[in-house]
């Protein structure tokens, strides 16, 4: 069967249509898809587009950046609390992350009337802690249920200084040497 192998000129349809019109392809040899394409053409004719070789082509930003108003709250949250202790489970479509809960609580408090940004942040943090979600500030040690034994925090230099100043506290020195 006759054909036209010029993929850079016109579309598949225009080439076949012109071949039929000129009589190269007989009507009974019409391809199967011809009528279907004629009735249901695509949204854009599949023309070959020449690649732009000049690097000085205008770079227009046609694709917009996607930002939401809640992103400001999210930036504040991530700056203060880091990545959050609870991991995000993306396999569930209805999953609510710690950050999202923070955002929801913030908006709720804002709608109640509080206007100051810093106070809103603190209030939201406190509200979440009340609900049971632990928030760890960036850089700070994690909040533990039981406090550390203060004896373990003592340093040798301080102890020697104390010993020199106090003079006769031998029981404490032996405990420190063992820890």
């Amino acid at each position: 069967m006759a054909g036209s192998r010029l993929e850079r000129f016109g579309t598949v349809f225009t080439r076949v249509r012109d071949l039929i019109r000129s009589g190269v392809i007989k009507p009974k040899e019409k391809p199967l898809w011809y009528d279907v394409y004629k009735t249901f053409p695509p949204k854009r004719a599949p023309l070959h587009v020449k690649p732009v070789t000049s690097p000085s082509a205008k770079k227009q930003e046609i694709v917009p950046e996607i930002f939401y108003s809640e992103d400001k709250i999210r930036t504040g949250f991530y700056e203060q609390y880091g990545r959050g202790l609870r991991a995000l489970d993306l396999s569930k479509s209805n999953f609510v992350s710690t950050c999202q809960r923070f955002v929801d609580k913030y908006r709720e408090l804002k709608s109640h009337g509080m206007l100051d940004k810093s106070s809103l942040f603190e209030e939201t943090g406190k509200a979440l802690l009340k609900e049971g979600i632990i928030l760890r500030r960036r850089g700070a040690p994690p909040v533990l249920a039981e406090s550390r034994d203060p004896v373990l925090d003592l340093k040798l230099i301080d102890m020697l200084a104390e010993q020199q100043s106090a003079g006769t506290d031998t029981t404490k020195t032996t405990e420190d040497k063992n820890s």
Partner: protein, 276 residues
């Protein structure tokens, strides 16, 4: 290399009932649907009658916008849940994909699913019509992760697949590689338009050369210009590719069943039980 292909000998010589019928249909003088049936068929052979009816069967689906109701097969939520809207990063973006993108979230391209819906509907409709007319459909994907899935999809709908290395003259040199009088595919469906080195698959250009329409899933780093019916969407996530395979399989099977139904209704093939 041929040994590595699955046992679909996807080119077969142009013989077969459909071809014969098709030529008979075209030799009929009146193309107006063939309403005049002879009442005394003793002298006249029944072939022109079959030709008229075939013509009617072939043209009837073209009258309705969505004859096979392919729009029912998927919804925007299905596309979203299958992560079809996730594109590649901003640096990988192809210039010609910009009209199909919804936006860019922190350098991550998001594909516009409203457009994807329309394009997918057009593509599935076209596939259904081709399958209805008994066309050969070839599934192509060079992603090794989904090679098996694509092959099983093709097997389930009775069509063909090519998920291995594409030899240069597959379509353009078919008469020499496979013997004279080979029938080429009537539609090629690309589940991924890129090959393993992130260049456009040779099949797209070859199909355009051989005047074969293509349906292709184009991601944000692909070139959609030569694809006849592009479908902007994610081609990397398993969930998305499974969705596409399922949709294509369902449309093709639906179209083929509809064709059998129409033939039975019009009494062309010998029915086991008459369906009115």
């Amino acid at each position: 290399m041929i040994v590595n292909y699955r046992c679909f000998n996807f080119f077969f010589p142009y013989l077969g009932l459909l071809g014969f019928r098709y030529s008979r249909a075209a030799t009929v003088a009146s193309p107006c649907g063939g309403h005049h049936y002879v009442t005394a068929p003793s002298a006249k052979p029944p072939q022109p009658q079959a030709g008229d009816v075939t013509e009617k069967i072939l043209n009837q689906p073209l009258e309705k916008a969505d004859f096979f109701r392919v729009a029912e097969l998927f919804s925007l939520k299905d596309l979203f849940d299958a992560r079809v809207h996730l594109g590649h990063k901003k640096g990988c973006r192809h210039r010609l994909m910009e009209p199909y993108l919804y936006g860019c979230r922190l350098d991550h391209d998001i594909i516009n699913l409203d457009q994807t819906m329309e394009h997918l509907q057009l593509a599935l409709n076209f596939t259904a019509h081709i399958a209805y007319r008994g066309g050969i459909i070839l599934f192509v994907s060079r992603r090794r992760q989904f090679g098996h899935l694509v092959e099983t999809t093709a097997k389930d709908c009775g069509e063909y697949a090519h998920t291995r290395y594409w030899q240069g003259g597959l379509l353009t040199n078919a008469n020499i590689q496979y013997g004279p009088g080979v029938r080429l595919p009537d539609l090629i469906i690309f589940l991924s338009t890129l090959n393993n080195v992130f260049q456009q698959h040779v099949g797209i250009r070859d199909a355009a050369k051989m005047n074969i329409p293509t349906v292709g899933v184009v991601d944000s780093n692909c070139n959609p210009s030569l694809v006849t019916y592009p479908v902007p969407g994610n081609d990397d996530t398993p969930a998305a590719v499974e969705l596409y395979c399922r949709l294509f399989k369902m449309t093709i099977n639906r179209a083929k069943d509809r064709r059998k139904q129409m033939e039975l209704i019009h009494g062309l093939s010998a029915p086991t039980s008459q369906i009115s």
